[in-house]
Amino acid sequence: MTEHVAIVGAGTGGTVLANDLADRLEREIDAGDVQVTLYNDDPDHVYKPVWLYVPFGLREPEDGRRALSELVDDRIDLRIDRITEIDTDAKELRTRDGAEPVQYDHLVLATGSTLDPEIVPGLAEAGHNFYSEDGAEALREDLLAFEEGRVVLSVVGTPHMCPAAPLEFAFMVDDWFRERGMRDDVEVVYTYPIQRVHGNPHIAEWAEPIMHERDIEVQTFTNAEEIDPDAQAIETMEGDSIDYDLLVTIPPHAGVDLISEAGLGDSGWVDVDQHTLEATDADDVYALGDTADTGVPKAGSVAHYQAGVVAQRIASDVRGRPATATYDGKTLCFIETGMDEASFVEFDYENPPSPAPPSTALHWSKLSYNESYWLTARGLL
């Protein structure tokens, strides 16, 4: 009897996991004792951190795309298909293209985040974003042509992918206009939903003085009620009106409906044990990356580390051994602090972040990692 591991979603978490299992369970897969199937509805793997650089004309969306068939080990059964239904009692999946349900023994949900701008009236029409390929390209058109006025970066909802990215964009856009001698003609405004500039208090404490030094106007406790594209204004739940000439937003995020419909958690995020990453409401189901509701950032490094933990746990289970690997909350992030400098943070459930002093070396480390990311996706780094 072949034991079936089904992975839904081939972003960072799903792809790293598939390649890890191909290596770890090589013997069992080759013997036909284990089958690993990776489902994704896009034939490409998408590396989203590239999008931050697109509006500045530094990268192209296609720099963040590679065919999954080139990245995923041949031992993995790669299916370009969409899972439409999960039945955790019967342990089966329905797919868009398949007539029969697919049985699984182990299910891993790595379905990631989607953007949900419709929650805020006017946001989809008025607000640019760099959280999608199309969004980043449209923003590039307006940002490259922008010569004077008020650029507002507004974080509309949390949690969102890459919590450092709004800070990075604000720091980069400030430096970008400064380097081009245009900063006196451009106001930069940063808004955040809670009482500080970032969800993590240690990062907020580090970032806010830099914003003040750089003359980036900060508005906290700012939650968009609606955006008025004609008046070019954000009307907030706190009763303020914030004018903009160019609005860049971090739109609200949600997971996929599939998760909620399967009763595994709200808003598309799976309720999990934050150490084992096992779903709390079903047996033999794991979630990782953005999909797992652990409270840690929705970041690629998190998905990467969690994939290693899930791979070890599934391999232990397949071999009839107790699964002992656990996730400790490990998160790594580079934070661009301008066009030529970056900081770096590393933290986990127990140890808070302490941002490193910004340096050119860290900026180049970030860019170097972005280039070598494809080795991570292949399971090599």
Partner: protein
């Protein structure tokens, strides 16, 4: 069982969420409600005891009551 007779239009269970999760869950819930409606926020994060009243004051909403149980808080917030 709630110890209060306040009748919430919506209950948001943010127990287990780290900061600022409970406050963001509350803001998300308030967003979709009519004026006067009440949200009951369940949180086991002590930070909610300061986060939520601070945001309520900033936004003009009102914290009607905070219940403390053995392992969590229930905060009742009325939309302005």
């Amino acid at each position: 069982m709630p110890a209060t007779d306040i009748d919430p239009a919506k209950t948001v269970d943010s127990r287990g969420a780290s900061c600022p999760g409970p406050l963001m869950d509350l803001i998300g819930a308030i967003r979709g409600l009519d004026s006067g409606a009440i949200v009951r926020l369940l949180s086991d994060n002590e930070q909610s005891l300061t986060d939520v009243p601070e945001w309520a004051e900033e936004s003009g909403n009102e914290v009607l009551e905070i219940e403390e149980t053995e392992d969590h808080y229930a905060l009742y917030v009325q939309k302005a």
